[in-house]
């Protein structure tokens, strides 16, 4: 396989350590753009545990993209019950997307989304929901280019430090 070649596969527990720096970079960017996001002291440890535990959840899928043998991003999706009483009964939710900053802009996120979309379709999901930080216009533009439209604005009210 050529070093520059991109390929996608389902993530494995063994991938967690290789993805940790990518997660770290993503959340550090989030906190830089908006200080209301704060990383827990043991956030990396918790992310790793959550990532590995999620791999055995049948309602969750984690797609990993590699350039050559090097992981450069991942996307996590889940199938969740809609709120009681509302249709459709099941919806897809994109929980996480992280791409190595050096790998951004080359269609990496789009390929990950295409993979997750195929998985959602096998689960009978007709629409997907996701959240994007208000102060991250690049992420918003990425999702809008994929057809996303705004449903809600989530607002934040500070109570105390």
């Amino acid at each position: 396989m050529r070093d520059s070649e991109l390929h996608i596969r389902s993530a494995l527990a063994a991938d967690a350590d290789g993805l940790l720096p990518i997660w770290q970079e993503t959340v550090e960017t989030m906190t830089r753009l908006d200080s209301r996001y704060r990383i827990a002291a043991n956030g990396a440890e918790r992310w790793r545990a959550s990532f590995v535990a999620g791999l055995s959840d049948p309602d969750r899928h984690t797609a990993l993209i590699l350039r050559g043998d090097k992981p450069i991003g991942y996307m996590v999706g889940t199938v969740q019950a809609n709120a009681p009483g509302l249709l459709p009964e099941m919806i897809g939710v994109i929980v996480e997307l992280s791409v190595d900053s050096h790998g951004q802009g080359g269609g990496v996120g789009t390929q990950l989304f295409a993979t997750l979309s195929d998985w959602f379709k096998t689960r009978g999901v007709s629409h997907i929901e996701l959240r994007v930080p208000s102060r991250n216009p690049i992420a918003q533009a990425f999702w809008r280019a994929l057809g996303a439209t705004s449903l809600y604005d989530q607002l934040w009210i500070k109570l105390r430090d």
Partner: protein, 183 residues
């Protein structure tokens, strides 16, 4: 805080006897949301009753609190809040989430919505929450103005993507959470 009396209405913690009123108010909330945004979900038959039953069952849940606004013998609005623990991801621990807020159109502009939010806010503080988050429909300009006047600032955008080649729900809708509504 359990009760706050004002001139024309009082705010109190919801009780089992409020079940029918909560179901009716929620149905009106859903109706108004769909008028604002046709992509909002279509409730199934008897959804108001299901919703109210669920709310009443949560009255003893220590992570949930429901306040109602009562005018004479009628419930004219309500607020449903939940405590969320996000400490597995972010520093800061607990946050309060306002799941639903609704006030009858005829009771608006009298401070009822603000009083309901104040009651929830006080409860969230007592429970150790550091911030409140809530969703407001992107098409609801008046609702955004209400929340911004209470100190709300934009935090995240919830987006939706319809998957091609998949039949949409019969109502063409579906969202995952209840929504805060202009009071």
């Amino acid at each position: 805080m359990t009760e706050a009396l004002t001139d024309n209405y009082r705010i109190r913690v919801a009780a089992a006897a409020d079940e029918n009123a909560l179901g009716t108010l929620w149905a009106q909330l859903m109706n108004e949301m769909r008028q604002l945004d046709p992509h909002q979900p279509m409730p199934i038959a008897n959804a108001g009753r299901h919703y109210a039953g669920r709310v009443i069952r949560s009255l003893n849940d220590p992570h949930t609190r429901v306040f109602v606004a009562q005018h004479e013998h009628a419930v004219i609005g309500y607020a449903l809040g939940a405590l969320l623990d996000t400490s597995d991801l972010f520093a800061g621990g607990r946050e309060g989430f306002i799941v639903d807020l609704y006030v009858l159109p005829t009771a608006r502009r009298a401070g009822v919505g603000g009083a309901l939010v104040a009651a929830l806010r006080e409860w969230f503080v007592e429970q150790g929450a550091l911030q409140i988050v809530l969703n407001v429909d992107s098409a609801n300009a008046a609702g955004r103005a209400f929340w911004q006047a209470l100190g709300g600032s934009e935090y995240q955008i919830k987006m939706r993507i319809d998957l091609p080649d998949m039949p949409r729900a019969s109502d063409g809708s579906g969202v995952g959470q209840m929504e805060s509504k202009i009071p």
